[in-house]
């Protein structure tokens, strides 16, 4: 198990004409959970999308293990699991089918692994139903199973616990805890802090200026 490190160096990001991130720097390494908080519009999503490489910073850089993420973005993305604001699921497919295709394009995955992941997020009961018929919270659980299945050392999650009940909230904390204990890095934008051990948590507060 090799140690990983993700750093951001004086990031400036514009959204339209808004200068959202003004010289933001951060660092996280294996075993750490970086919690990004801030009011609506403070740039949490912009920061996460810059970290995964969907948004390019006007200046400054993000580095994964000392390499700019845009230098070999495919290798970087192979080590990254991204969960955006919306759960990337197809309403007409069941949870199992969604994971079969969604994870399948990243790495070969068998039915047993999918079942196991669904069990871990407590979604086995509705695994066969079309996702269309699930509640938003149930969909979020299926999406989290997708994050687990990616088997990536770096997780970048945008409000992972959104729509989830109290048990779901605790579950996300538990999953994050387990990922960082096994040498991963988790970065999440949250409204309410996730229940993760204080010793492993780094906080990054964004403010609207």
């Amino acid at each position: 198990m090799s140690a990983h490190r993700l750093t951001g160096d004086t990031l400036h990001v514009f959204r339209g004409e808004r200068h959202v991130l003004r010289g933001l720097s951060f660092a996280a390494e294996s075993g750490q959970y970086l919690e990004v908080s801030g009011a609506n519009g403070a740039g949490k999503t912009s920061l996460l999308r810059t970290i995964v490489g969907l948004v390019q910073a006007e200046s400054g850089s993000v580095e994964w293990n000392g390499r700019n993420i845009h230098a070999d973005s495919r290798a970087y993305h192979a080590q990254l699991a991204w969960l955006g604001h919306d759960s990337p699921l197809k309403g007409d497919l069941s949870a199992i089918e969604n994971l079969h295709y969604g994870t399948g394009i990243r790495r070969p995955v068998d039915a047993a692994a999918i079942d196991l992941a669904l069990e871990e997020v407590d979604a086995s009961r509705f695994a066969d139903r079309p996702v269309r018929t699930l509640s938003a919270g149930q969909r979020r659980r299926v999406a989290l199973a997708g994050v687990l299945l990616a088997a990536a050392p770096l997780w970048v999650l945008d409000e992972p616990a959104t729509h989830l009940d109290a048990a779901g909230h605790a579950l996300v904390g538990h999953l994050v805890e387990r990922r960082i204990e096994t040498g991963g890095i988790v970065i999440a934008a949250v409204h309410a802090p996730l229940p993760v051990q204080e010793a492993h948590t780094r906080r990054l507060g964004l403010s609207t200026k």
């Binding site: 969907l54 495919r74 290798a75 080590q79 919306d86 197809k90 295709y101 399948g104 990243r106 790495r107």
Partner: protein, 225 residues
């Protein structure tokens, strides 16, 4: 890491499965094609000889417009639910995955259109001897059109009421397809060789296969920003 071929197969398989779960959407462009080709005899005349003269134009304009309907849906759902983001961050080449998506789009939109064109052509008084030529030209032309559409649909992701804009972007670029496609159809009807225009269509398609997925990937990345 999944190999490139398996990844592409999964993309195509997922699109096909989704399409068959939601068959109505698949039928709409085909029905549109059928209705447009029905309108012409009503607007012009039922006389077979006159219809046969305009048949190549009618078939191709109708095929172009109904493909355009399908192109509107090419990326819409995937962009809305975040699937495109996952493609872009999958560690696979986005260009390759979008090429796979274009293939599935052609299987679901272009190929059915090509298979249906003989029926429409028959209604326009076209002799059955022209059928192979018509099917071949529509099939090849819609491949190029799907590739072109992948670029313009990628550019218009997230634009509200982008349908008219999508037409404005796509149709001028599709002019060569219309010219050579209609010409191939006309020659098929006249019973002369269609090789000439088909070569041009094929050349256009090859150019599209090499360049369009790259442009589509660039367009999608920009739209995801």
């Amino acid at each position: 890491m999944t190999g490139a071929w398996s990844a592409a197969r999964l993309v195509v398989e997922r699109d096909l499965r989704l399409a068959f779960r939601n068959r109505a959407q698949l039928l709409h462009p085909l029905l549109f094609f059928a209705i447009v080709t029905t309108l012409f005899p009503l607007a012009l005349s039922p006389e077979a000889s006159r219809l046969r003269d305009v048949a190549p134009g009618v078939l191709w304009v109708a095929a172009l417009l109904s493909s355009l309907l399908a192109i509107e849906f090419l990326f819409r759902d995937d962009a809305q639910d975040g699937t495109l983001e996952q493609y872009a961050l999958s560690g696979q080449s986005l260009t390759w995955l979008l090429f796979a998506k274009t293939v599935s789009h052609w299987l679901l939109a272009g190929l059915p259109l090509a298979l249906m064109s003989p029926v429409a052509a028959y209604g326009l008084g076209v002799p059955t001897s022209a059928v192979p030529g018509i099917v071949a030209s529509v099939a090849l032309g819609t491949v190029a059109l799907s590739l072109l559409g992948a670029v313009t649909a990628g550019l218009t992701i997230g634009i509200r009421r982008g349908g008219a804009l999508l037409s404005l972007l796509t149709l001028p670029l599709a002019v060569p397809l219309l010219i050579f496609g209609a010409q191939a159809t006309a020659r098929a009807i006249a019973g002369s060789g269609i090789a000439g225009p088909m070569y041009f269509l094929a050349a256009f398609t090859v150019l599209g296969i090499t360049l369009a997925p790259l442009a589509a990937a660039a367009a999608v990345r920009i739209s995801l920003e």
